[in-house]
């Protein structure tokens, strides 16, 4: 399988603080990779490096076949949905999505067609001409997701995509992630909600104090917390590996 994300000894320092160190990851194309860790462990910093928002202090990484030093190549092949969706409150959803397409240099006709199709798919057509400032958190997340899918990226990075969503919106989001995986899009999923990662991820990595403390297929990671030969699930494994260190 070709690799969608490959990092080697990635390190990021902010002054005297080491946010991420010695991070070496391999994520296969078309897979869903669950990236777990307590608050402040280095998840968001890792995503920022992989999406070219932040330059690593040292180490190397390739995303969708391009080095993260080649910002234009990487950004043309990825989509990034941060925890707070990057939206302008003053715009309507349709205006926002047209803008997102425009800034990615998509032709107007393509933007119109894809926006219309995605708004339908995410059940937002009726609200598309309302301003985003009046949207609920779940609706904002959906618009944020649409705008990173407009250009049909190879890899999408989702930072806490289901946090703060009601059960219906969270289920919609999970289905979308499943659909993306079915379409061979690689999903790099960071979440505190272990059930979400457990339901969707093929492989899981756990980061703690900036270091990757475990990494592997979901079942293998779950087996690391075994009692009497039976796996106690991802939550038990996560707690065991990050014991006493989370906030």
């Amino acid at each position: 399988m070709p690799l969608a994300i490959e990092t080697e000894s990635l390190r990021k320092e902010y002054g005297d603080t080491v946010a991420v160190t010695g991070l070496s990851l391999r994520v296969e194309s078309g897979s869903v990779y669950g990236f777990l860790g307590p608050n402040g462990a280095g998840k968001t910093t890792t995503m920022r490096m992989l999406t070219t928002l932040t330059a690593p202090t040292s180490g190397r990484a390739r995303v969708a076949g391009a080095s993260i030093e080649d910002r234009a190549s990487v950004t043309s092949r990825i989509g990034f949905l941060p925890d707070v969706p990057p939206l302008y409150d003053e715009l309507t959803a349709r205006e926002q999505l047209r803008y997102a397409g425009g800034i990615r240099d998509l032709p107007a006709e393509t933007i119109r067609e894809r926006v219309s199709a995605l708004l339908d798919r995410f059940d937002l057509s009726d609200d598309a001409d309302r301003r985003l400032g009046a949207y609920s958190r779940g609706m904002r997340k959906r618009v944020g997701l649409i705008q990173i899918l407009l250009h049909d990226p190879d890899v999408v990075f989702l930072d806490e995509p289901t946090s703060g969503l009601d059960p219906r919106s969270a289920r919609t989001m999970r289905r979308v992630i499943e659909d993306l995986a079915d379409d061979e899009t690689t999903v790099f999923l960071s979440s505190h909600l272990l059930t979400v990662v457990e339901a969707l991820a093929d492989r899981v990595g756990v980061i703690q104090d900036g270091r990757l403390v475990t990494e592997g297929p979901l079942d293998a990671v779950k087996r690391k917390a075994q009692r009497d030969g039976e796996s106690e699930g991802l939550e038990a494994a996560f707690l065991e590996m990050t014991e006493g260190r989370s906030e």
Binding site: T51, T52, A55, T75, I78, F80, D89, E90, L91, E95
Partner: protein, 534 residues
């Protein structure tokens, strides 16, 4: 009662602490405040009998007035003090109005309103405003009173001046605070009013600015108002003919104004709470705006790439719907109008160049002064678009340069025609205006990217106000670019240059400076955004 006093004290203390920390985070703002207060102190206190002080300040002020009163020559002292009371009240009202009307917190986010009784809450609010006005305006008033008392050798006057200034500022705060809450309510309730805040803000700043530039007229107008009675209170025993009745009225009026201020603020907040449901309503844009936007979009699409045009179009759209950043454009013009006035009074033919410079400053002082803050939470989208960073800079620059070039050129030309300037001067004014209008947004972007508090950029979710430090640096640079044109027109008046030579020099120098500074600023802005890490 004891609980209320404790609660109020606690709130005021916490707010003061937050104020100190905010000031530490924005040293440029503190420096500007300090400079303004220092200047006002020098002007009000005036000349002092200290060796070498004349090198610092030589004009007479409160101290000299005190000396004159002691020598039996203080006939005009009371009138001047009444006028000064009026100006201090105007400054207090302006500060409280702007500070309150701009604040974003309301009953939905301000937990203190749930924790405190309404009376305690609004008393704390007014005390906080009093502390704010006191350290800016009150200090100047008290220094003036003490200087007068020293000059008149009347220690009692120092005490009465302290009481009078405190009462004056407290009354102005109590009267203005509910008005400011009303303004906020109007902005929330009426989208049309909110949309045209620029107009109201610019008008307010202009009126206040002119009140301070034209002190003689202001004194004449304000000294006749009840606000002048506080001067009677300050000078009640100074032997300048102060009215005891007015002094008593001023003293008694303060608690009454305070009580009325708290009561009115409560009523307005109750109304605001009842009105809250209407705040989220949105309406479509007027057809004319949509047409203008589409036309502007087509124009920008012809001269720029699709991503750049997308950025420019969205900037316009957001500005129309949230024109707070434009309000600042109006404020900077209003606040510095006095300087332009002095230049024009000295060299009347420089008017077109001065007007063109002001229009360029105004069009560049909007969102381009804080592109990161304006992008706010949407910044990751922009920064992860291929080539997004350079296109963001170009898009923002075009969004201001397209209207800026046209407006500055039209302003220069229109003003030149209106004063009957020669055809060469009219052409020169239009050219200088267009160069300034095109350059100002790029300079503004560079200043904004250098001097914005970038660590807080992704926190906001809407168009915000530009940082004061960036605004000052930008205004100075644009004024410097406009300076050759102003100097050239001045040279015509002094006879040291012919019209054609002056215009050639003005246009060539402005173009050279504009191109050089503009190019450097553009590269600097792109480089900074390229290196920016949210």
């Amino acid at each position: 009662m004891e609980t209320m006093v404790r609660q109020v004290g606690h709130v005021v203390r916490v707010r003061a602490l937050r104020g100190v920390r905010r000031a530490r985070d924005r040293p440029m703002v503190s420096v500007l405040y300090l400079a303004a207060v220092s200047f006002a102190l020098l002007a009000v206190v005036g000349r002092l009998p200290v060796s070498g002080y004349e090198a610092v300040w030589s004009d007479p002020g409160a101290y000299a007035a005190g000396v004159a009163v002691a020598d039996g020559r203080g006939a005009g002292a009371l009138g001047t003090a009444r006028g000064l009371s009026g100006l201090l009240a105007v400054a207090t009202c302006y500060g409280v109005l702007v500070r309150t009307a701009q604040r974003e917190d309301d009953e939905r986010t301000d937990h203190r309103r749930l924790a405190l009784s309404p009376t305690a809450f609004f008393t704390a609010e007014l005390l906080d405003q009093l502390a704010f006005a006191g350290r800016l305006v009150g200090v100047v008033g008290v220094a003036g009173g003490v200087a007068f008392a020293a000059g008149a050798a009347s220690p009692t006057t120092a005490v009465t001046a302290l009481v009078a200034v405190t009462a004056l500022v407290a009354t102005a705060v109590a009267v203005t605070f509910p008005v400011a809450l009303g303004v906020r309510l109007a902005f929330r309730h009426y989208p049309r009013v909110r949309r045209h805040r620029l107009l109201f803000g610019a008008l307010l700043v202009s009126v206040v600015g002119f009140a301070f530039v034209r002190t003689r007229s202001s004194f004449a107008l304000l000294s006749g108002l009840p606000v002048g009675w506080y001067a009677d209170l300050a000078l009640v025993g100074a032997g300048v003919g102060a009215s005891d009745g007015r002094a008593v009225a001023a003293l008694l009026g303060t608690p009454v104004a305070w009580w009325l201020g708290v009561a009115t603020a409560r009523r307005i907040t109750d109304y605001q709470r009842a009105d809250a449901g209407k705040a989220g309503e949105t309406r479509g844009d007027p057809a004319i705006v949509t047409r203008l936007r589409v036309a502007g979009g087509r124009l920008v699409a012809r001269v720029a790439s699709r991503p750049t045009a997308a950025v420019a179009r969205v900037v316009w759209l957001r500005l129309w719907r949230e024109p707070r950043a434009l309000l600042f454009s109006g404020i900077v013009v209003g606040a510095t109008a006095g300087v332009g006035l002095v230049v024009v009074e000295t060299f009347p033919t420089a008017l077109p160049a001065v007007v063109a410079t002001y229009v360029a400053v105004a069009t560049g002082a909007g969102v381009t002064l804080d592109p990161l803050g304006t992008e706010g939470a949407a910044l990751p989208l922009t920064l992860t678009a291929p080539h997004g960073r350079e296109r963001v800079v170009t898009g923002y620059a075009l969004s201001a340069a397209i209207p800026g070039t046209a407006l500055s050129a039209a302003a220069g030309l229109g003003t030149a025609l209106s004063i009957g300037a020669a055809p060469a001067a009219c052409v020169g004014a239009a050219l200088v205006g267009s160069i300034l209008g095109a350059t100002a947004p790029v300079v503004s972007l560079a200043a904004g990217l250098r001097l914005s508090p970038t660590d807080a950029a992704t926190g906001s979710r809407g168009v915000g106000l530009p940082p004061l430090g960036a605004l000052s640096a930008f205004s100075v640079v644009v004024a410097l670019i406009g300076m050759p044109a102003i100097a050239a027109t001045a040279a015509i008046e002094t006879g040291s240059m012919s019209l054609s030579t002056a215009m050639t020099v003005a246009v060539a120098a402005t173009a050279l400076l504009g191109l050089g500074v503009g190019w450097y600023a553009f590269r600097d802005a792109v480089g900074r955004l390229d290196r920016y890490e949210p």
